[in-house]
């Protein structure tokens, strides 16, 4: 049942696009172009990200992760997840599977959310692009203000979730 729903929506959407082209419906065609633009980005980068996740999974042992970004890792662990996140690329939803992997390898709650924050706002490939369009001053300021704020969010999430049965699940 759940699987049927899972595949029905994408199927209906593709059917809609197909009919739009068949009957030269300009609204449908425009939506299809938008879809292609997003899909292209996803299909180019996500498989790479997942290969990275797979390799990370088989090569990096749990003890290593636990020691460096786990329960008692402190500021060095925070610095490490920020560094890790800033070297990656792609939209936020690409970070969720990686966060899951970090979690099952023993990363603590705080660092999971700091990782998500860093991944979404201070990726180095993205910042170079931002500097090109919006200037060095703006990009640097935005990054420097954002950094402490998502570290605070990480601490807040940890405080709130500690003791509750929080876990990152595999979908």
């Amino acid at each position: 049942m759940k699987n049927t729903i899972k595949y029905t929506l994408p199927f209906l959407f593709l059917l809609f696009i197909w009919f739009s082209y068949l009957f030269e419906n300009s609204i449908g065609e425009q939506i299809a172009l938008n879809f292609w633009m997003f899909f292209k980005e996803m299909i180019l980068f996500l498989p790479l990200m997942f290969i990275l996740i797979g390799l990370f999974d088989v090569w990096v042992p749990r003890e290593k992760i636990e020691k460096h970004i786990g329960e008692d890792s402190g500021w060095k662990g925070t610095l490490l997840v920020i560094l890790l996140a800033s070297l990656q690329a792609g939209p936020l939803y690409g970070a969720f599977p990686f966060a899951y992997l970090l979690w099952i390898k023993g990363c603590n709650i705080r660092n999971i959310f700091i990782y998500l924050g860093a991944y979404s706002t201070i990726k180095i490939p993205m910042i170079t692009f931002e500097i090109g369009f919006l200037g060095l001053k703006f990009s640097l300021l935005r990054t420097l203000i954002t950094l402490p704020i998502f570290i605070i969010i990480g601490f807040a999430m940890e405080k709130y979730l500690k003791g509750k049965k929080f876990e990152v699940k595999q979908p």
């Binding site: 990200m49 959310f113 704020i149 990152v168």
Partner: protein
Amino acid sequence: MIGLTIVVFVLLAVSLLADTQKTIKGVTRGLKMFLKLLPALVTMLALVSIMFFIVPNDTLASLIGKGSGIKGYFIAAVIGSVSLIPGFIAFPLCKILINNGVEYSTVAIFITTLTMVGILTLPVEAKFFGWKVSILRNVLSFVAAIAIGIIMIFLL
């Protein structure tokens, strides 16, 4: 993107040389996870492309332009939250917004919510973190984005 591609291929090559069996296991595991997530992602992107069609760029500029004040900030934050625009389109778009008289602080709010808050990706996020935690993270990020914008006003 090119950077990531090179890094992944170099790591893949090193991994293959070190242990072929282990590498195959890792790559299969990663791609299996990807295929499992794919239908949810396609659904999400379909919704995004419909949204993107409904809200065109020039409407955006007039809603959050000069003189729109606090309301403009709020609208920028909401639009950023419900949009899912790839970086290579978002930054040129921001440049256009600035040329049309939108302030830098508003753009900062827009970028922050765009990247940190994802209403449309919420169903995907909830698969990993559960609904309650995902909503909480998004609300905190939304508030943070507005704070970032306000700090930017004083610094720029």
